[in-house]
């Protein structure tokens, strides 16, 4: 993940050979970035912005400037899911609670499972069960899949080829996280060895890995698995 976001920065920098952009061009560029981001409810990537702006626009620089301009305001420019979005300032949540969408309350089991998937991804159902020490009910996974916050990534290259799970962009967007590497407390957990397999060295619990690319010990999902995911994961348990 860190790698891919570095790649983005480089790509943007490459584009942005700020050749002969006048201060006026720059001001106009800033207005355009502001308008594009403001108009969209969904986060937009720097590449996407670049593709909609004059060639050579220093998108990275403009984004930083814009972010600076909005700092401390009632609306902030934030980075989520490796993209950019305007969001109301977090401290004003009391003011806007009236607008809050009715959100489905996740059970404690579901939230715990979500956290395990986020911090340990790619992770199989039996990994989750090993950590929680209890069978994961079918309903828990269904609820999480329904939120769109987790997805089936692939299959682990181990006997039984269990389905692996990971988080989605929607997860990052919902929780206001830029990349999986930015999960709160991730470094401390890593340092404490709590993301290591530890007990049963027979299976691997790698570091969170949300990139769409499969890891070495993952195979792609076949179509059948995507449709009948429940069945696939049952076989695992």
């Amino acid at each position: 993940m860190a790698n891919s976001s570095a790649a983005v920065a480089i790509a943007v920098d490459n584009d942005a050979s700020p050749t002969n952009f006048s201060p006026e061009d720059r001001r106009q560029g800033l207005r355009m970035v502001e308008a594009l981001l403001f108009a969209s409810a969904e986060p937009i990537s720097a590449e996407d912005l670049a593709s909609r702006l004059p060639i050579g626009t220093d998108v990275g620089g403009l984004l930083k400037e814009l972010q600076q301009n909005y700092t401390g305001g009632g609306v902030n420019l934030i980075q989520v899911a490796s993209k950019w979005a305007f969001r109301t300032a977090g401290d004003l949540s009391f003011l806007l609670s009236r607008d809050a969408l009715e959100q489905r309350k996740l059970s404690r089991a579901a939230l715990e499972t979500l956290a395990i998937i986020a911090y340990h991804q790619p992770v199989t159902r039996s990994d989750i069960e090993e950590i929680r020490g209890v069978i994961t009910s079918r309903g828990t996974m269904d609820v999480l899949l329904e939120t769109g916050w987790i997805r089936m990534r692939g299959r682990r290259k181990t006997p039984g080829r269990p389905v692996t799970y990971g988080t989605t962009e929607a997860f990052l967007a919902h929780f206001g996280i830029d990349t999986v590497g930015d999960l709160p407390g991730l470094d401390e957990l890593k340092a404490a060895g709590l993301l290591d397999a530890g007990v049963a060295a027979s299976f691997m619990v790698p570091e969170p890995h949300a990139s769409d690319d499969l890891t070495e010990d993952e195979d792609p999902l076949e179509d059948e698995a995507l449709e009948a995911g429940g069945e696939g994961s049952l076989a695992e348990g």
Binding site: G90, L96, L106, S107, E112, G133, L183, P184, G185, L189
Partner: protein, 264 residues
């Protein structure tokens, strides 16, 4: 969002009579018991914890409460752990030492605890649609579809030659065959379905257009058009038997009518 974890107060004997169903498995129960030691989970006494767990399980069994197998398996394992911790390991023992087993359990408890904290941290973040909000009235990008057509000179010439040639032959025909296009059939139906809530034979819709020689084409295109409208959810189509008359009904209207009937 996050149902706060409520450690069961086990300060006295009364508290031991707790519904085991409230726990999410033996690890959860162990974590909960560990809290009663009132020490940092990293410095917990596994031996004391094992004893607590076993006491608890015995109490539950004494009360003849049902226990899931998981809890009993854990109890058996903890009893074994206890014995390993209390008795010196035999010479050449291949099995893990009591300390290793205790450490493994402590690790699992710490890890579960850490994941619970992580879950709570996630749940308490400023969340989209609850604490922070996106633009409420986004201005979507309008996509203007522009078509780019392509054709080859060969397409053009063969269309021309074929058409001219057919036409030069068909001039001999006395009368041009009249065709009711699918579009025309569709237009007629669209104009009319708004008014028809009850099942109506398809032929009623087309009859003003029927002259003997046109009957075939009209029926075919009206039928084709009606299928398209069914697919778009605008009308319902019904036929009781093969070759029986086709009946159609305006779907929107029909729904409203049935609702009114339901209310009345």
């Amino acid at each position: 969002m996050w149902e706060t974890y409520q450690p069961v107060d086990r300060g006295d004997e009364q508290a031991l009579v707790v519904d085991v169903a409230g726990f999410e498995g033996p690890l959860d129960l162990l974590l909960s018991l560990a809290r009663t030691q009132k020490v940092d989970i990293t410095r917990i006494s596994i031996l004391a914890l094992a004893e607590q767990y076993l006491t608890y399980i015995e109490e539950i069994r004494r009360l003849r409460l049902e226990l899931a197998a998981d809890y009993l398996v854990m109890a058996a394992w903890l009893a074994y752990l206890k014995s390993r911790l209390l008795l010196p390991a035999a010479e050449g023992d291949e099995e893990p030492t009591g300390e290793e087993m205790a450490e493994a359990l402590a690790f699992r408890l710490r890890r579960l605890e850490a994941m619970r904290e992580a879950a709570a941290r996630l749940a308490n973040r400023n969340r989209l649609g609850r604490d922070v909000f996106a633009r409420g009235d986004p201005e979507p990008v309008q996509i203007h579809k522009r078509s780019e057509y392509s054709a080859t000179l060969y397409d053009l010439l063969s269309a021309y030659a074929t058409q001219r040639q057919q036409r030069s032959v068909s001039v001999v025909q006395v009368r041009r065959r009249q065709v009711w296009s699918l579009q025309e059939g569709r237009d007629v139906l669209m104009r009319m379905i708004g008014q028809i809530a009850q099942w109506t034979p398809l032929s009623v819709f087309t009859s003003p257009y029927l002259s003997p020689e046109m009957r075939t084409t009209v029926t075919a295109s009206a039928f084709g058009a009606s299928l398209e409208l069914v697919r778009e959810g605008k009308i319902d189509l019904r036929q009781t038997d093969a070759f029986a008359p086709l009946y159609i009904r305006d779907r929107v209207h029909a729904v409203e009518t049935s609702q009114e009937a339901g209310n009345g």
